[in-house]
């Protein structure tokens, strides 16, 4: 199956096309999406941890819209990169580690949305109290996810079906 994906015209186009709008464009979108997704999370997490304490917390909820847009940018560009190099990713344990870290980090961000931003009657100090541990954990997990992603380029054992 993976062999078929790898040999498909689309996969070959992403991988080998001399066009600047194939592989390099997709990987650029993936980097920009990372900046937006993790950057927006970072702002919420830092505020929950007391940075810019004079800033009202509740309006930061709007940043979740940016995070969702960025999340789907990452899913689409990530799937395209996977189609280009299915064997390279799927034979590397680091790839599963990366997906797991992203999954947990994003779930925790959604938990912050429900627990901290979900109830408009909460006072700021209660919001911060509820969000503190979640904020610390998401920051650690995002750092881990970015690192695991960066290391994909250095930890693969196979690049394609033939070797």
């Amino acid at each position: 199956m993976l062999k078929a994906v790898e040999e498909s015209g689309f996969s070959v186009w992403i991988r080998d096309s001399p066009s600047p709008f194939a592989f390099w464009f997709i990987i650029s979108v993936h980097a920009v999406g990372m900046g937006l997704l993790v950057g927006a999370s970072l702002v919420i997490d830092l505020r929950l941890l007391g940075v810019a304490a004079a800033l009202p917390l509740a309006p930061l909820k709007s940043l979740y819209r940016i995070m969702w847009v960025a999340f789907w940018m990452q899913v689409v560009s990530g799937v395209l990169l996977l189609i280009a190099y299915p064997i390279k990713a799927l034979t590397n344990p680091d790839f599963y580690l990366k997906l797991a870290l992203i999954g947990i980090a994003f779930t925790l961000m959604l938990r912050i949305r429900n627990r901290v931003f979900g109830d408009a009657t909460l006072s700021e100090s209660v919001m911060m109290q509820k969000g503190r541990a979640l904020a610390v954990w998401t920051l650690i997990l995002w750092a881990g996810a970015v690192t695991a992603g960066r290391m994909l380029a250095y930890t693969y054992s196979r690049i394609n079906y033939s070797g």
């Binding site: 390099w24 920009v32 900046g35 950057g39 999370s41 702002v43 940043l63 970015v146 960066r150 290391m151």
Partner: protein, 320 residues
């Protein structure tokens, strides 16, 4: 046009600029003029941005002239060593100047004047004098490479020291362990996230999104973005020192350095000077002036462009 032209275009600015900035700073301290203090601090920070491509373009100049008759490899090495140490001390000076400048962008609750801490004035003064001395030596060793009529014959201790440090940095970045480069790349990504998150959220608000947020407390995120920028300047310069031939003639890299100076200047002059008080007064729902909106939008555009230019760099790799 050769990439070497960039070196001639850029390399005089840090030398003359540091001198002008230092004179201006001394006058501003004697006259106790806040605007003038702010101007000279901004000059130092801006020069620390400009010095990065000035240093890097030296490699292009080296490639062009190294085989010319009468050009000594030793002199080039000495110049490069002095340039590296000058760059390092220039960056430290620019960093301290930026910390001082930060005071001017904050809105004082009491409405009083911004106070530049004494330790900061002292640090910037000492560092600027040291930078000027190093830059003068660098300019001198550089001039001697192509102008035999002014060769003094004296060897430069600064050049010799820098000439020893440069290969050790190169060794650590490239050969010491295969993991140093990936770790630097990882830090470069984390710096990128700090920049996009912290500077991006301030710019979005100024542009008119997230309007329920007052701007003054939001401005507290800017130091986190500056921290990201510092991480990326350090890791980026280390990449260049590690593999200069990969970058020197790469058009994508050259555009990226231009974008870096522009984005850094935007951060410096917009977010870190008293101009930002125009925005810092904005409460929930208030609209920023059109010019501020434009500057905020250009900041977001430039930082995103830097990410894209970074990712496209291998696509534009030139064979050496």
């Amino acid at each position: 046009m050769y990439s070497a032209h960039f070196h001639l275009l850029l390399n005089h600015w840090p030398i003359i600029g540091t001198f002008v900035g230092l004179c201006l700073f001394v006058v501003s301290l004697i006259a106790n003029q806040d605007d003038l203090k702010q101007t000279s601090l901004a000059v130092f920070s801006f020069l620390s941005l400009l010095s990065i491509p000035a240093y890097m373009s030296g490699n292009a100049a080296q490639q062009v002239i190294k085989d010319f008759p009468g050009v000594s490899a030793e002199m080039i090495q000495s110049h490069q060593g002095a340039a590296l140490l000058s760059l390092i001390i220039m960056e430290i000076t620019g960093g301290f100047a930026l910390i001082g400048l930060w005071q001017f962008s904050r809105v004082d609750k009491g409405g009083g004047k911004p106070i530049l801490p004494g330790w900061n004035v002292f640090a910037v003064l000492i560092l600027a004098v040291a930078t000027m001395a190093c830059m003068a030596i660098t300019g001198n060793t550089g001039g001697e490479i192509r102008h035999p009529e002014v060769v003094s014959g004296t060897s430069s201790a600064l050049g010799a020291l820098g000439g020893k440090i440069l290969p050790s940095i190169q060794y650590v970045v490239v050969d010491y362990s295969m993991w140093v480069w990936p770790i630097l790349e990882d830090l470069h990504f984390i710096g990128l996230i700090l920049i996009i998150g912290a500077i991006g959220v301030v710019n979005l608000r100024v542009m008119g999104f997230l309007k329920q947020l007052p701007v003054a407390p939001l401005h507290r995120f800017i130091p986190w973005g500056i921290a990201g920028f510092v991480i990326n300047i350090v890791s980026g310069v280390l990449f260049f020192i590690g593999m200069p031939d990969f970058y020197t003639n790469n058009i994508d890299f050259q555009i990226k350095m231009l974008a870096m100076v522009l984005a850094g200047s935007n951060l410096l002059f917009f977010h870190c000077t008293s101009y930002f008080r125009v925005c810092a007064r904005l409460g929930p729902g208030d609209e920023a002036p059109a010019l501020a909106k434009f500057v905020a939008a250009s900041s977001i555009f430039l930082w995103i462009a830097l990410i894209v230019l970074g990712r496209y760099m291998p696509f534009f790799e030139v064979a050496n």
